[in-house]
Amino acid sequence: MKTLVIITHPNLEQSRINRTWMQELKKHEEITIHTLYQAYPDGKINVAHEQSLLESHDRIILQFPFYWYSTPSLLKQWQDEVLAYGWAYGEGGDKLHGKELGLAISTFGPEDSYQPTGYNHFTMATLTTPLQQTSNLIGTRFMPLFVLNGVMHVIDKQLEENAKAYVNYVLQPSLIEA
């Protein structure tokens, strides 16, 4: 199984969590890492290239910091342009069918804020329903989320362990039975 991780962070160099996750992924050369803001600093996405990357992998992980309960804007643009009608959905749009789609999200807010009584009110599962339904429409198997909440309070030792857990998440056996 070939795995593609699309990392979308507008400021990856200054990021602690997303950069550490990426560095841990880089120790495993079977994982393809694609950093979206580095590939398209001017926001002009090469749709054919992105589609061919997706076609040549079986599992796609979208890794990003949670911005306004959603993805950074370039990843939204990637969805809008790359997941085209007749390719990813609609008539003849079956190119992603049978692949797996996972989300790896870091959040500023602590875990207990993402519940009915917390200040963010909604759970991560609820807030990511737009991406879950995107997965439904493009025919991918939606994986359980990988989330690290409260990133300001994660000490180095915890982050180190979390990055290893992240690699295990990315490389876990296929959820789709052969």
Binding site: P10, G43, Y67, W68, Y69, S70, T71, P72, S73, L74, K76, Q77, Q79, D80, L83, Y119, N120, H121, F122, T126, L127, T129, P130, L131, Q132, Q133, T134, N136, L137
Partner: protein
């Protein structure tokens, strides 16, 4: 009460519903229509200008076609850049508190698709939770969403009617 309608459609010239809505709203007094893609074709948003616009209005409406169960990319960029820490949220970020916040959305999928058992599985209320949470965090009151489903199948007369419905929805007291 002054209302700001931020229109975010990457191809407004070819849009029927969103363009009709925008043109109709421009005829209303006390409604400012702000065409986001026309202002920022290269995504370089003037944050100060956008914040100033928000400050000058009491009800903020985001109008857009539903793309992947969310807003088009430029409106996401607008959220990420304009709603800054210390201005829109955080202990000092109180500038939007008490304002009204509303969504006006067009969808290609029919109404019956947006429910459990329908092909979109989730309701509009569920899919717009990220916006509701944004309103919560910035201290704005999240008003009922205006949605027009199945827009590709609308006749011209129905499009015009939907624009009148939107005006009423937007001017309503909540």
């Amino acid at each position: 009460m002054k209302t700001l309608v931020i229109v975010a459609h990457p191809n407004l010239e070819q849009s029927k519903v969103n363009r009709t809505w925008m043109n109709r709203l421009q005829q209303e007094e006390n409604v400012t229509v702000h065409n986001l893609y026309a202002h920022y074709p290269t995504f370089e948003i003037d944050v100060e200008k956008e914040q100033q616009l928000l400050l000058e209005h009491d009800r903020i409406v985001l109008q857009f076609p539903f793309y992947w169960y969310s807003s088009p990319a430029l409106l996401k960029q607008w959220q990420d850049l304009v709603l800054t820490y210390g201005w829109a949220y955080g202990s000092e970020g109180t500038k939007l508190r008490g304002k009204d916040f509303m969504l006006a959305i067009s969808t290609g999928g029919p109404e019956k698709a947006y429910q459990a058992g329908g092909y979109n599985h989730f309701s509009m209320s569920e899919l717009t939770k990220p916006f509701q949470a944004t309103a919560n965090l910035t201290g704005m009151r999240f008003l009922p969403t205006f949605t027009k489903h199945g827009v590709r199948l609308l006749m011209n007369e129905q499009v015009r009617e939907s624009a009148e419905e939107l005006v009423l929805h937007l001017k309503n007291n909540y």
